[in-house]
Symmetry: C2
Subunit: 342 residues, 2 copies
């Protein structure tokens, strides 16, 4: 599927103009504004070709052309000129960002907001996805008679705690001995290795002394497998409404639906193949019916080389892909830096 240089120029011009104006682009406009060296008639012939090849479509006979999904796809794959976020913008972005964002949740939430304000589309970010880590430390802290706080720290930095009930007779020393025992046996060990290394008997033994010790085991599993943390954060939903394609409330509804069902989004994006590139899916390339008129630009962020989670923007198929791709890349790099530093 190769196009000669002029067809490329025309397709590129159409996509750009349409992204800008949201109006079908006619041959005359193209001739005047983008391709001054050819006549409108020639462009019309080329456009007819491009339509036949599936890159363009006509809303109705007497309207200009708009890009089809394949048109956008070709544009993204071959015609994208990425430098659409100025160095200046990147810089201020970083500065603003560094001022906020200390707590884990805020880091990600803020990243979503940042992305939304950079692109004017809806931004999404997932917290650390399910992944396997090793136990760094378990500690139980006596809070009052019969109550203790279990704290679990994983190698990847995740921490979780839960209040448990313990026998009234149990002292901090007893608790220490038990956690010490667990730590000695399972330090730097993954969840599946723990299961092999006889977690079951340990659970049973300690369970006889602390009734709720199962809850501690649960907690360890949660932290090591990273389960509870995969919350999805959103930002900039209202920005989307500025886009002309969302003047119709029904378009908006399906997207708002996602707000109430974030799990859907988590699986939608969590499942995509993510190498280090920014991923773009256009319109019906998205499996999910709710976003079949939208495009999705996503990337992952990492911690010391291992993927932690993803961020992305959701906008109309008529999206400023150049800007979105750069923004997503920059913000994901930023997140990676932050996590790697800490």
């Amino acid at each position: 599927m190769d196009l000669d240089a002029r067809k490329k120029r025309i397709l590129q011009a159409i996509v750009r103009d349409y992204i800008l104006t949201a109006e079908p682009v006619g041959s005359r406009t193209l001739a005047r504004r983008y391709l001054v060296d050819v006549s409108a008639a020639t462009i019309r012939n080329e456009m007819a070709d491009l339509e036949e090849m599936g890159f363009l479509q006509q809303p109705h006979t007497s309207a200009g052309r708009i890009p089809s999904e394949s048109g956008y796809r070709f544009y993204v794959d071959h015609l994208l000129d990425e430098s659409s976020l100025s160095a200046q913008e990147v810089l201020t972005m970083r500065q603003i960002y560094q001022q906020q964002a200390q707590v884990l949740e805020n880091v990600i939430q803020q990243a979503a907001h940042l992305l939304a304000s950079l692109t004017d589309y809806m931004a999404m970010a997932s917290g650390p996805q399910p992944q396997t880590s090793r136990l760094k430390k378990l500690q139980m802290i006596e809070i009052q008679e019969g109550k203790a706080l279990a704290v679990v720290v994983a190698e990847n930095g995740l921490v979780a705690n839960r209040m448990i009930t313990v026998p009234v007779t149990m002292t901090q020393g007893d608790l220490d001995r038990i956690s010490e025992f667990v730590n000695r046996k399972f330090q730097n060990v993954t969840w599946s290795q723990m299961l092999q290394a006889g977690l079951h008997t340990v659970r049973h033994e300690i369970g006889q002394r602390i009734e709720q010790f199962d809850q501690v085991i649960d907690l360890i599993q949660q932290v090591l497998m990273g389960e509870r943390n995969s919350e999805v954060y959103l930002g900039g939903a209202s920005k989307m409404l500025g886009q002309p394609e969302f003047q119709d409330v029904n378009q908006v509804r399906s997207i708002l639906h996602l707000l109430d069902h974030r799990e859907t989004m988590r699986t939608l994006i969590g499942e995509r193949q993510h190498d280090d590139q920014v991923q773009v899916t256009i319109g019906s390339e998205n499996q999910l019916q709710e976003v079949e008129n939208c495009s999705l630009v996503t990337a992952i962020y990492k911690w010391n080389g291992t993927p932690l989670g993803w961020i992305g923007v959701l906008g109309p198929t008529r999206m400023d892909y150049a800007r979105a791709v750069t923004a997503v890349r920059e913000v994901s790099n930023l997140l990676t830096e932050i996590f790697t530093k800490s």
Copy 2:
């Protein structure tokens, strides 16, 4: 501002019919459907009176009447018939709810979703609001050379942790001595009392040994003053779009705006006077411009008698107040029960 019985009947009928149909109500409709014993002409006279009194208004000359804000207000204050949530509904609600909801955050998030599905309006819920608690315990756990985890537990059960950098030479024993020292000095003490009891010098002294000890102090403040926890949860934003008043995207936008600026909402609702009643504010009674076409029904939930946070629904002024009020009351009671039990 008192109305005779017939005027009340008419106002009530108009509000109900308008809530149901979202169309201006005419005299003939009223005569046929709600007040069979009087003629349309009589009703017309009464309606003219009610309009002059400010309870009704006319979109244009040849249309029926719709309730004004004062009309809704009178309805809510004097004409509301609350039994609009069947016992059956309340029961299934409780059953469904009890199945989910274990972790603190989920409890509240689920409550918001429940409320949204009961009312078909947008539901909001705040986590525990800023409130003063006492320090129960501080503990620092060595994670690896030069890194420790600070864990703070407050009397009201809130727990938070943060990773801090400590001198490489510092052992768990050193950390224990320091937290022991802090605990001895400040156990069962509120934040303001800590300030008075010389927190400043302690901070300074320890700060010489642990550079990042300020972060621990921060953490203590956060937990005792309950700052970080007052997240606002939302549910059912997409439901709103079913309402005819939100067919216009601009109406939706201002509300979606709240999604991105939840602090606004927190202050908006956090500041209202909340006794044990369900509070209703109608249209411009809400200070916030974004919701001047909306009504807000809220209530607080408690833990052992002290208010923890609030829940509520946001809908168009043409809201089914009866249903909303009952739903909010039931769900807030449910939350109070859950918190009091635990």
